[in-house]
């Protein structure tokens, strides 16, 4: 089974981004002195979920970071370590790195590996040393935006000056001299090829043994930097610009923030710059008389050397740049001097200088690179068009459309009494309305439906990788992947299922040796199934592994201080694994074993009004069954009529429909009726007598037999006639009423009326147990029970 995982990337990216944002929000709000356990757990869960997702999709770099992060968080969560400001800082830094890696995967932007390893180191050292040392190397990154304090903190990576030189030719192109740091021959050639796409490149070696490209192009410096950043650290680049403006006048010295920004596509500036306290702007804040008048424009046009495509070229660089705002928050602005020689006529370049100047001035400028990146991203993701919308909005939409359909049906009915000749235009318009309404309804309904395959197909790869990692052999089987499920539920079932599958592979299935010793085939089987059952959708994760050990669970629970006793039922004991922080795994691996999974599973399922059930037999395996309510589900149904009512039968349970001939109807002992279909005798269940429903059609040859199959049993349901096939939204009867035997739910038909959806397996059962054919009223037990209750009510 080969699956293109990339189709799910977007979902993971969205999710991960949400989780990161959430984690950040929680981190920022956390109270250091008395951190809320719930919040710590939430942060931990976020990290865990990201790790899970990243591992599923094979983004190992993110898994690595989250794993280290998780280790540390786990210690804090378990109060083995006190939460300190360093921790929070390190977590935030880790969050930024994760974001950077995420963007790296998503938008193919560059990832600063140094920063990654820095953060990883910090996390590791914190986790080992109890969070004492925070080395200088990472401190600046981690330090949350502190206003300019002591001038000059060593920048994490002191960038080399970028020299921009004005002068030279007049051919409409920009001439860049790009001096590379020491790179391999191969990288150099790659780079040369890449740059060759922009314009003419001439490579040479300079006296320091470094490669220098001379590039004539109409692209901007930003473009060049972004290309280079794939291969090397742009901070190490030295780019000199020669603009096309000839008339050079007073050269202007600039102190620029551009060095940091030059790392376009690099992310550390998100944090690093903030921390790099602004050094005194010193020098020539006044030097560039030329650019003063264009302050307002400094937000754009960075690096633009021809002054035309300011916006594009600026690439949103300084978009959120608000000069002279928040004067005290002089975050940043490196002391990295950028000596730019430009003539005052070179407008755009001059702007750069001004921008830099302003930035460097003590008045300070709030520089927010995230905003900038946002802009980039918008550009990059313009093609991927999916939006995430709250399910309530969709629900509301569906309800509204339902109302519209009813209103439309009413109008249609009203005009059917009108004279078609006199009112032709009106009737035509209504016809159009009808079509549009139907289309609208179809589109709205389709928003929410998705086959379970969408979820299931994520797993084979994950299972394979996991199995390989853990040295286990197993077959992965999915059943019922075509079962359609509401998108809202699909999205929310992914996380719990991921946890369950991981758990099953890690803890459920034994090692091949272990299985052999237990007399089982070496290859284990993991089954993921989905089905509509009764009033629910049941999703099950089944393994034929070791099963849950009751005694082990009890012992562990007792150790964890949970109230347990030997006399607890198996179900209660199994449910212990849903307690937060409960894990029976002896070793915490990066796969599972922290006990976070089941806690999350339970939480998520409960949030969906679902129920989780564990069935397990020691030595034989475990099944974890998730039953979700049908409230949101959608069903392919066949509507049938009975008297003046309409019932809906799930289409997937219908084998065929037929109108029997009299000779095919047989009776057993003169009572029970059977129908003979291709050599099989099937019991006839008359819906009208089962439901006590009046109808004129009591002879099966006058009506229709619907052959049903459920749980391996077949029966023929006798109804008046077939009405049609349609998709229906299943509404729960239990919301306002209660469960009705033989009915799994209700739905609203096109005319606004309510139709009941038959619970086929219950009906087949009722047909077998009920003695309705002998004249005793069906549900006699039900009614007598009613009476008893009534009587017992004084």
């Amino acid at each position: 089974m080969t699956i293109d995982m990339s189709q799910f990337y977007e979902v993971f990216f969205d999710e991960a981004e949400e989780l990161l944002a959430e984690a950040e929000r929680l981190l920022l709000g956390i109270d250091l002195d008395s951190p809320d356990d719930e919040e710590l757990n939430a942060i931990f869960r976020a990290a865990h979920s990201i790790k899970g997702g990243a591992a599923t999709f094979g983004f190992m770099d993110m898994t690595e970071i989250t794993h280290v992060l998780e280790n540390l968080l786990d210690k804090i969560r378990k109060h083995e370590m006190a939460l300190t400001a360093e921790h929070v800082d390190a977590f935030l830094a880790a969050k930024d790195v994760l974001k950077m890696e995420l963007d790296g995967h998503r938008l193919a932007t560059a990832v600063d590996q140094d920063q990654v390893s820095d953060v990883k180191m910090v996390l590791k050292s914190l986790s080992e040393a109890g969070g004492v040392i925070v080395s200088a190397a990472h401190e600046p990154k981690a330090a949350p935006a502190v206003a300019a304090q002591a001038p000059i903190v060593e920048a994490p990576k002191p960038a080399e000056p970028v020299a921009v030189q004005a002068a030279v030719p007049d051919d409409g192109l920009n001439h860049f001299n790009i001096e590379l740091p020491e790179v391999s021959e191969k990288d150099m050639t790659n780079l040369q090829d890449e740059l060759g796409l922009l314009g003419e490149v001439v490579a040479s070696k300079n006296d320091k043994g470094r490669y220098v490209f001379k590039l004539a192009t109409d692209s901007t410096q930003a473009d060049i930097i972004s290309i280079c950043s794939f291969v090397l650290d742009p901070d190490d680049l030295i780019i000199t610009v020669s603009t096309n403006v000839a008339a050079a006048s007073a050269p202007v010295e600039v102190k620029a923030a551009v060095v940091e920004d030059a790392g376009f596509g690099l992310f550390e500036d998100d944090i690093a710059p903030k921390a790099v306290s602004a050094s005194a702007p010193t020098e020539d804040a006044t030097a560039n008389s030329s650019g003063v008048k264009i302050h307002e424009e400094v937000g754009y046009g960075l690096f633009s050397s021809d002054g035309k495509d300011n916006v594009e070229e600026g690439y949103g660089f300084f978009a959120p740049f608000r000069p002279h705002k928040d004067a005290e928050v002089a975050e940043l602005i490196g002391d990295d001097t950028v000596a730019t020689e430009a003539n005052s006529g070179a407008v755009a370049v001059a702007k750069v200088e001004v921008a830099s100047q302003v930035a460097g001035a003590p008045g300070g400028v709030e520089r927010r690179s995230p905003g900038r990146r946002e802009t980039d991203k918008a550009a990059a993701t313009a093609e991927t068009t999916s939006i995430r919308v709250g399910i309530e909005k969709v629900d509301q939409l569906i309800n509204l459309v339902g109302e519209l359909v009813i209103t439309q049906a009413m109008i249609e009915q009203r005009i059917s009494n009108l004279d078609p000749v006199l009112h032709e235009p009106l009737i035509n318009s209504v016809g159009q309305l009808t079509r549009n309404t139907r289309d609208l309804q179809e589109s709205v309904m389709s928003i929410r439906m998705m086959p379970m395959d969408f979820v299931f197909s994520r797993f084979p790869r994950m299972v394979r990788d996991l199995a390989a990692k853990l040295g286990k052999k197993l077959d992965f089987v999915t059943v019922g992947a075509a079962t359609e499920l509401d998108k809202g539920l699909i999205e929310r079932i992914v996380d719990p299922l991921t946890h369950l599958v991981r758990n099953s592979v890690d803890h459920g299935i034994e090692s091949p040796a272990g299985r052999k010793a237990a007399g089982k085939p070496e290859t284990g089987t993991l089954t993921l199934s989905a089905a509509h059952k009764g009033g629910s959708i049941v999703i099950e994760v089944t393994d034929d592994g070791a099963g849950l050990d009751r005694n082990k669970l009890l012992a562990k629970a007792a150790k964890n201080g949970l109230p347990v006793s030997e006399s607890m039922s198996d179900t209660d004991v199994f449910n212990l694994i849903f307690a937060p922080g409960f894990s029976t795994a002896e070793v915490v691996t990066d796969v599972s074993g922290r006990g976070v999974g089941m806690d999350v599973v339970k939480r998520n399922i409960t949030a969906m009004n679902g129920v989780v059930e564990i069935r397990s037999a020691l030595g034989y395996g475990t099944t974890i069954s998730i039953a979700l309510p049908l409230t949101l589900a959608i069903l392919d149904g066949m509507s049938v009529s009975l008297g003046n009512s309409i019932y809906v039968i799930p289409l997937n349970l219908i084998v065929e429909t037929l109108q029997p001939r009299a000779e095919d109807i047989k009776t057993v002992t003169g009572e029970g009726r059977m129908v003979h279909v291709r050599g099989e005798y099937l019991p006839i269940i008359a819906l009208h007598s089962l439901f006590n429903h009046h109808t004129d059609i009591t002879d099966p040859t006058q009506g229709v037999l619907v052959l049903l199959e459920s749980d391996g049993k077949k029966s023929a349901l006798f109804v008046d006639r077939l009405v049609g096939q349609q998709q229906v939204v299943i509404k729960s009867l239990e919301t306002n009423y209660r469960k009705v035997p033989g009915v799994s739910g209700a739905t609203i038909m096109g005319d606004g009326g309510v139709a009941l959806i038959l619970d086929v397996s219950a009906i087949i059962q009722m047909g077998q147990t009920s003695n309705y054919l002998t004249g005793a009223p069906p549900f006699a037990h039900y009614q007598s029970a009613q009476l008893i209750e009534k009587n017992s009510n004084p």
Binding site: I398, N736, A746, V754, L756, Q786, K790
Partner: protein, 172 residues
């Protein structure tokens, strides 16, 4: 007002206690010859009776379910339940849609008359008597201008077992 709701909802207390908290606004309706009142805050809306889908094997007084703007809402005919009034359905038949702790239920009555504010001293204790409505679901009697109103604790009544509206009653 809300405290009154809360307490009347859990009125397993003595009747005098019940009375104490019974003051408030009531929607009055007619069943047969009798005037009843129920707490106005439990009422979601009042509408006509139409297109009820009957449900198999339910007590006779449960008429079935209707679609109330996308919600499936059961309809109970109190006239049948309490054997009051003439059971017929026409364009004047009134359904009071109740919202009881988030559960939406419709009740069919003979007619809706008024909304009145009742003070504590207008409400009398219920004498113990034989009636179709168990006295434990009656908050008290109110007399206004020579008319007697039976104040029903509708929430208790509708969630009672004999109404068979909730799952606790379901027998398998």
């Amino acid at each position: 007002m809300s405290t009154e709701n809360a307490s009347s909802a859990t009125s397993s207390t003595t009747s005098s206690n019940k009375l104490k908290n019974a003051a408030g606004e009531y929607l009055t309706f007619v069943l047969g010859e009798e005037q009843y009142g129920l707490e106005i805050l439990k009422v979601q809306e009042i509408r006509g009776y139409d297109s009820v889908t009957q449900i198999a094997n339910t007590p006779e007084f449960i008429k079935g379910v209707v679609n109330l703007r996308g919600k499936i809402v059961p309809i109970v005919d109190l006239r049948i339940k309490f054997q009051l009034g003439k059971v017929e359905y026409d364009e004047f038949t009134v359904v009071i849609i109740l919202n009881l702790n988030g559960r939406v239920v419709g009740i069919v009555v003979d007619g809706v008359s008024d909304v009145m504010a009742l003070k504590e001293d207008q409400i009398r204790d219920v004498p113990s008597l034989v009636s179709n409505i168990d006295t434990k679901y009656i908050v008290g009697l109110a007399s206004v201008e020579e008319q007697m109103f039976i104040l029903v604790d509708i929430e208790q009544l509708m969630s009672s077992q004999e109404m068979a509206l909730m799952d606790a009653v379901a027998v398998h």
